[in-house]
């Protein structure tokens, strides 16, 4: 056997060299992401200037120059306008929001009875959170509780008139509470109604199909304002004289019908995505129409369109602000009313502050919903990736 001379083989490992300066570290990152080309560098410069100009202004207005305490408008006025602040001052007038917070949340709901609204809210959150977390069991029971039992409890708690609870007129309701009631009812009604309309649109029965198409396309073709207008002014004409409709109920009907037309289109998209074989498989098992839809098609279709459904929920949530046009006071309505109808807080900064506050609340809700839908989308994506 010949001995191999292995002396040319390196015995100790070479130390890893650090990556070249142009490939790693902050410098490389900057070169790649901020200064890749001359044009890119120019854009970066413009963007930096814009951010450096706007961001301090926004932060100063929101936080550092803002007024935080006070009891009336004089707290947020400059010396020129009759207050103490320096001339040229501009900042948020938070005492306005703090002072009016109860009104923004509950409207003119009697202060002594507000615990009922808070209790309803706690119940709702307590039922909603386990429904939203996928790992928590008893989803069926949970859904029955939140969509079957909760509305009854909430109706009794909010409206009162039974069990010794004083009756509270819906005309006293307002603020975020009305926004949430409108959204909840809109969502709870539009989902089943949307399913029925979507099935109707794909039905083989010409009459059912035609009616569904007419309803969906008419409602989708007109603005929500028109639908609300119809609900507010025409609905009372449609019922026998003497029968009166609650104003909130009329708005609820309008919002729910409007949302269900959009929901129907989303669900129809899901129905169309289910392969023909699924329908035929159900037929060959001898299932009837409702069994086929309820057990085979709908579960798959709804799962596919969850992002679309949540998007409709977000639109619905934003659209509830429109009830302000038929003079109801949802969150935006109460804010607007406090701005234009209340001399105690009439300052140049009040409007901006109030709307920024309302925007933050709406934004938090919508952003939360959209993030949740993205999370569900990723979670449900498993079996359907082609």
């Amino acid at each position: 056997m010949q001995e191999h001379d292995l002396s040319w083989v390196r015995t100790e490992m070479a130390l890893a060299q650090s990556a070249p300066r142009s490939e790693a570290g902050a410098f490389a990152w900057g070169r790649k992401n901020l200064f890749a080309t001359p044009l890119n560098s120019l854009m970066t410069a413009i963007a930096i200037v814009a951010v450096a100009w706007f961001l301090p202004k926004i932060l100063n207005w929101l936080l550092f120059d803002a007024v935080w305490t006070g009891t009336d408008r004089t707290a947020c006025l400059t010396t020129e306008q009759g207050g103490q602040l320096p001339v040229g001052w501009s900042g948020a007038c938070w005492p306005f929001v703090i002072n009016r917070f109860g009104y923004f949340m509950f409207g003119r709901y009697p202060i002594d009875e507000r615990w009922r609204v808070i209790l309803t809210g706690i119940l709702f959150i307590g039922l909603l959170i386990p429904l939203l977390i996928p790992r928590v069991p008893f989803k069926g029971l949970n859904a029955v509780l939140i969509f079957g039992i909760f509305p009854v409890v909430a109706y009794i708690l909010l409206l009162g008139g039974v069990f010794g609870l004083p009756h509270v007129e819906t005309s006293l309701w307002g603020g975020l509470m009305v926004t949430l009631v409108l959204s909840y009812v809109g969502i709870a009604v539009s989902l089943p109604l949307g399913i029925i309309l979507a099935l109707g649109r794909r039905s083989r029965m010409p009459v059912v199909k035609l009616l569904s198409v007419i309803f969906i396309e008419t409602v989708r073709g007109v603005p929500l304002v028109t639908v609300l207008f119809m609900a507010a002014f025409m609905l009372p004409l449609f019922v026998p004289p003497g029968v009166t409709f609650d104003k909130l109920l009329r708005a609820l009907i309008g919002v729910a019908l409007f949302a269900s037309a959009y929901m129907a289109e989303v669900i129809r998209g899901g129905l169309q995505a289910i392969p023909r074989g699924q329908y035929e498989g159900a037929d060959s098992l001898g299932l009837g129409y409702w069994q086929k839809m309820g057990l085979i098609v709908m579960p798959q279709a709804l799962k596919l369109v969850i992002p679309g459904i949540v998007n409709s929920f977000i639109s619905l949530f934003k659209d509830t602000t429109l009830v302000l046009i038929i003079s109801m006071f949802d969150l935006l309505g109460t804010v607007k009313q406090s701005i234009s109808g209340d001399p105690t807080w009439a300052t140049p900064q009040t409007a901006k502050t109030g709307y920024v506050f309302a925007a933050l609340i709406f934004w938090a809700f919508c952003f939360g919903m959209s993030r949740y839908s993205m999370f569900m989308e990723r979670r449900l994506d498993t079996g359907y990736r082609r």
């Binding site: 790649k32 992401n33 901020l34 890749a36 890119n40 854009m43 970066t44 963007a47 930096i48 814009a50 951010v51 083989r204 029965m205 010409p206 009459v207 059912v208 009616l211 008419t218 073709g221 007109v222 603005p223 929500l224 304002v225 028109t226 207008f229 119809m230 002014f233 025409m234 009372p236 004409l237 449609f238 019922v239 026998p240 004289p241 977000i314 934003k318 659209d319 602000t321 429109l322 302000l324 046009i325 935006l332 607007k336 701005i339 234009s340 140049p348 409007a351 901006k352 709307y355 920024v356 309302a358 925007a359 709406f362 934004w363 919508c366 952003f367 959209s370």
Partner: protein
């Protein structure tokens, strides 16, 4: 004998006609129609009764009545002596004005932000993302009110108005801009424009045919640009420059003359276009991302520059994905323009609401709303479907 027995046995039993799908379907439809007819009859009956009780005559005759209210923003002549019908036309034109300008502005912002979302530049990408996430999640009505009551109402009054270049002013009554006044012979400019567009179309067709036949290219874009800009200018010079400007004059308490863009219009336009632009940006991003990477790589392997591959390979394919959702965003913007009523911009909805309050003709006014909005929706869809069909994939 035996075989015959068997055949008789396997002949399917006559199913009860209750289980026949056709009978069932007919029955269900009959019930639906019956319920519908009964429901409509009930509603019509109640409505007629209610109308009779409140002494409201039905029909569209009220449109010829004198309106008695004035409309500040108008594109056509109108005064309080005009009829309700004319007031509605003013409203429809205002709705269309907001919708069209809004669509143009939203498309421009939306495309810029959408491309910004895909930029290589980290900072631009983040700014675009923040824009989209902020404006997508705030109700448009809130944005309208914010601009109207929070920003534009705080502008100084007429005496302290901001003086901008070209003798324009900005104050709490809106923008005052110089208004162009066309003199005699201005039709030559318009004619130049029309001829320019027509010629460019012709040139583009010829150039395409020639490239398909011989492979030779022709600078279509520059030629069209020269034609579309050059011919109107030529017409302008030939007709002796018939353009003067009506400049806004600053008096002691008021600004007179010029073109006044009211704060109502401005807030509506800003809010609607900012809101819709956030959605358009997402559509554009999805469209560009929907074009597979292989397409860009194939384009560069053919030797196209990055600009060329964007213009000739990526955008035409992205447009196919973008157009259908873009159409529905345009429709949404048009429908959202009805929010104008919240700040008193006299669009169709606000004018109609005033008429309803004066005359009580709820049904007729709502019918007019529905007809107008449905026709606008239908027209926009038809136009965009035509555009979509033009851009669609030409397969064999």
């Amino acid at each position: 004998m035996a075989t015959q027995d068997v055949t008789e046995d396997i002949r399917p039993a006559k199913a009860s006609f209750l289980y026949d799908p056709r009978v069932r379907s007919l029955f269900v439809q009959a019930v639906v129609i019956l319920l519908l007819v009964l429901g409509i009859w009930w509603i019509v009956d109640n409505t007629l009764l209610n109308l009779r009780r409140s002494n409201i005559t039905t029909g569209f005759g009220f449109l010829r009545g004198r309106s008695g209210f004035d409309i500040s923003d108008r594109l056509i002549e109108y005064s309080s002596d005009g009829t309700y019908g004319r007031a509605l036309v003013v409203g429809i034109l205002n709705t269309l004005l907001v919708a069209v300008t809004g669509i143009v502005v939203a498309t421009i912002i939306g495309f810029l932000v959408g491309i910004g979302r895909l930029s290589n530049n980290w900072l631009i990408r983040k700014i675009a993302t923040v824009y989209v996430e902020v404006f997508r999640n705030i109700p448009p009505l809130l944005v309208i009110l914010f601009w109207y009551q929070g920003v534009l109402a705080l502008l100084p009054n007429v005496r302290g108005s901001y003086v901008l270049p070209f003798n324009s002013f900005l104050n709490s009554r809106g923008f005052y801009l110089p208004r162009p006044v066309w003199g005699d012979g201005a039709w030559l400019v318009l004619a130049g424009l029309i001829v320019g567009v027509a010629l460019s179309y012709f040139v583009a067709r010829r150039a395409k045919a020639r490239q398909a036949a011989t492979g030779q290219q022709f600078p279509v874009f520059l030629t069209s640009l020269a034609l579309i800009i050059g011919l109107p200018i030529l017409g302008f010079i030939l007709s002796g420059m018939p353009l003067t400007f009506d400049l806004p004059q600053k008096g002691a308490f008021n600004l007179t003359g010029g073109l006044n863009v009211k704060p109502e219009f401005l807030s509506l336009l800003l809010a609607l276009s900012f809101y819709t632009a956030a959605f358009i940006a997402e559509i554009v991003r999805a469209g560009i991302q929907g074009v597979s990477r292989g397409q860009t790589e194939a384009a560069s392997s053919l030797g196209l520059s990055s600009g060329q591959s964007l213009r000739m390979v990526v955008i035409p394919q992205a447009m196919r994905i973008v157009i259908p959702p873009l159409t529905s965003q345009y429709l949404n913007l048009t429908k959202n323009s009805s929010l104008a009523v919240a700040i008193g911009y006299p669009d169709l909805y606000a004018v109609g609401g005033t008429i309803l309050n004066q005359t009580g003709q709820a049904i007729e006014v709502v019918v007019i709303f529905m007809v107008v909005y449905l026709s606008i929706s239908l027209l926009t869809s038809l136009l965009m479907n035509w555009f979509n069909a033009k851009m669609a994939l030409n397969e064999r």
